[in-house]
């Protein structure tokens, strides 16, 4: 059979090169100041979906919520083999915490309608919360398996997966539909296909069209238009979206200040080391 798969993807700042200036005074992220990437484990999620498509056939829809520029992860998904992509972008969605995000994602998924699997990355590297997947599953009233490192078996109505636990791993079998979150160990994401990249390189969402070459839009080739849904399209209540719909608030953000406690410089000499060891022994820290 062929499966309907929804992949949840997020565009994230590359947290490897970040300073405290990357935050705005209100405590939210100053995304414009940061280089962005496809959240690494979301690429593993997409790869898992593509593997299913290769083996059994599937329609893969990739969903992302973010600013207009997040359309880039959708293009990246098309380059790798996604069939359809949807951008959830609306000022009303901005500065959402995980609860408000899962509200918007779950309404978008309801609008898409039929699905057998929803697959996301285990967590996003900007927040490391791992919460959006389970929160979305709860809103859709579907089961979940998190931290999945392998899909062992897939049938018409059941799935067997191996997931990491704190002390090893477990293999569980359950019914479809289900939401999975995938770890980096699960696979090595494929690179974009050259052919698909040529086909979709000009795919764009109309809300980012200002960044686009007007000439291209006027040319007779029709660009692939990435769907953009706002809160009206998914029937979202604005009070449950974005900052307003987020119960958690950032009280403060601090750069990490390393504490200079009572620092003692120990001379690298026989007497320096002898004094150190004696001190630690007399305090019963060693000995």
């Amino acid at each position: 059979m062929s499966y309907n798969i929804i992949v949840l993807a997020k565009q994230v700042p590359d947290t490897k090169n970040i300073t405290g200036d990357a935050m705005k005074p209100d405590g939210t992220v100053n995304r414009i100041a940061l280089p962005t990437i496809f959240n690494p484990e979301d690429l593993n999620a997409l790869e898992e979906a593509l593997k299913i498509k290769d083996e059994y056939g599937a329609k893969i829809t990739v969903l992302t919520m973010g600013p207009p520029s997040a359309a880039e992860v959708l293009r990246q998904s098309l380059f790798r083999g996604a069939d359809d992509v949807i951008l959830l972008s609306d000022r009303k969605f901005a500065a959402a915490d995980t609860l408000a995000t899962s509200y918007v994602l779950s309404l978008a998924i309801k609008k898409i309608g039929k699905f057998d699997l929803i697959i996301g990355g285990r967590q996003a590297i900007d927040g490391d919360t791992a919460q959006v997947g389970p929160q979305t599953a709860e809103k859709l009233k579907v089961n979940q398996a998190t931290c999945v490192n392998d899909i062992v078996e897939l049938t018409n109505d059941s799935i067997t997966v191996n997931r990491n636990t704190d002390h090893g791993s477990e293999t569980i079998k359950t019914k479809l539909p289900i939401l999975l979150t995938i770890t980096a160990e699960a696979n090595t994401p494929r690179p974009p296909s050259v052919k698909k990249t040529l086909t979709y390189k000009n795919a764009l969402s109309l809300i980012e069209k200002n960044d686009y070459d007007e000439e291209y839009l006027k040319s007779n080739k029709k660009p692939f238009v990435i769907k953009n849904w706002d809160h009206k399209d998914i029937n979202a209540k604005t009070e449950r979206c974005g900052l307003t719909g987020s119960p958690t608030q950032v009280k403060k953000i601090e750069n990490i200040v390393l504490e200079t406690g009572n620092f003692k410089n120990i001379e690298n000499s026989a007497s320096g080391i002898k004094n150190l060891i004696s001190e630690l022994m007399s305090e019963h820290i060693i000995g």
Partner: protein, 339 residues
């Protein structure tokens, strides 16, 4: 004030260490808000855990026993814990940031439509002022949920002032347990549940337990080696110092990535969090992600050739020098003084 509750996670029919650590913290939070501290215990055949929970600080245990709760599964556990929370109306609920804690807590938050902060490393009680459209609202005694964010580059304090309960998952190993041997009993509130068959769809086919070959929290002394140690061969010196002092060997991620030692020894944000009496950092530069896992150690000795290495900023004792030279001196001096 309403209670501070801890969700008790059972792993292989034993209480997870982090649950007891959280009871320690919950007692503090309860005291600061003039409230009591309680435990949420669900599963099958779980009465044998009551005494331990009272000893570690629970005033009340909210318990649901049911055969269908024998093993963790997200659907029946979400339903049961939500029922307990709705009945007991706590101000705060804490969960261990374990794999299953982070599987369960977000579902509960989603169902109850409350806030949840992931993977906290510190919790405090304090006041909060919210300014919105020129209006000022003051909140007293709310939960500060403190966590590293952005790959560990910053520390964020999160609050959920308008929603109850306030909920957080907390990283294992960062809170201190508080045991009181005199208290062996307390109040048990049994809550019945009725789990429909359609929620019982997750079947565990196989579990594989991988014994970690090291328990970094088992010793009060850790000798940790980093990239500066240079090779697996050189790491023998780290092992030797640890053995001499009766400690355990830890490592930075760079040392693990370079295959000097296996990943079970990694300390830091993506490894284990430790707080030994003595931490000796050898050839470790002291990047934020490493410090996140060891800065609560009682005493820190840093051995590094670079006098400007950031590790010296959090160390209590710094030795600028080559470990090849310093470690043998430490071993020799210790052995002499011990006699």
């Amino acid at each position: 004030m309403n209670e501070v509750l801890v969700y008790i996670e059972l792993q292989n029919e034993k209480i997870a260490d982090v649950s007891l650590e959280l009871l320690g913290k919950a007692q503090d939070l309860a005291k600061k808000t003039s409230a009591k501290c309680g435990a949420i215990l669900i599963g099958n055949n779980i009465k044998n855990h009551h005494e331990i929970l009272f000893q570690y600080g629970a005033d009340t245990i909210y318990s649901t026993e049911d055969l269908s709760l024998k093993n963790y599964a997200p659907l029946p556990y979400t339903k049961t814990v939500c029922e307990i929370v709705e009945k007991s109306k706590p101000q705060i609920v804490l969960y261990g940031a374990t794999v299953n804690g982070r599987d369960l807590a977000p579902r509960i938050a989603s169902k109850l439509k409350v806030g949840l902060t992931a993977d906290c490393t510190e919790l405090q009680i304090g006041d909060y002022q919210k300014k919105k459209k020129g209006e000022i609202k003051n909140y007293k005694n709310i939960l500060y949920q403190i966590r590293p964010a952005f790959g560990g580059n910053i520390i964020a304090t999160i609050v959920s002032p308008d929603h109850r309960p306030q909920m957080a998952t907390v990283r294992p190993g960062v809170m201190k347990v508080k045991k009181n041997d005199k208290t062996n009993s307390g109040k048990v509130v049994n809550i019945k549940t009725d789990i429909p068959q359609e929620l019982l769809i997750t079947e565990i086919i196989k579990t594989i337990k991988i014994e970690k070959n090291v328990d970094l929290n088992a010793s009060s002394i850790i000798v940790a080696g980093g990239m500066g140690v240079g090779s697996k061969e050189n790491f023998k010196l780290i092992h030797k110092l640890a053995k001499t002092l009766g400690g355990i060997v830890g490592a930075s991620r760079a040392a693990v990535d370079a295959n000097f030692i296996n990943a079970d020894h990694q300390i830091g944000q993506t490894g284990t969090t430790v707080q030994p009496k003595l931490y000796i950092a050898v050839g470790i530069s002291g990047q934020i992600q490493h410090i996140a896992g060891m800065s609560n150690s009682n005493r820190i000795i840093a051995i590094n050739t670079d006098k400007d290495a950031p590790i010296f900023q959090i160390a209590n004792y710094g030795i600028v020098g080559d470990f090849n030279d310093v470690i043998p001196k430490l071993i020799k001096t210790f052995k002499t003084l011990k006699k």
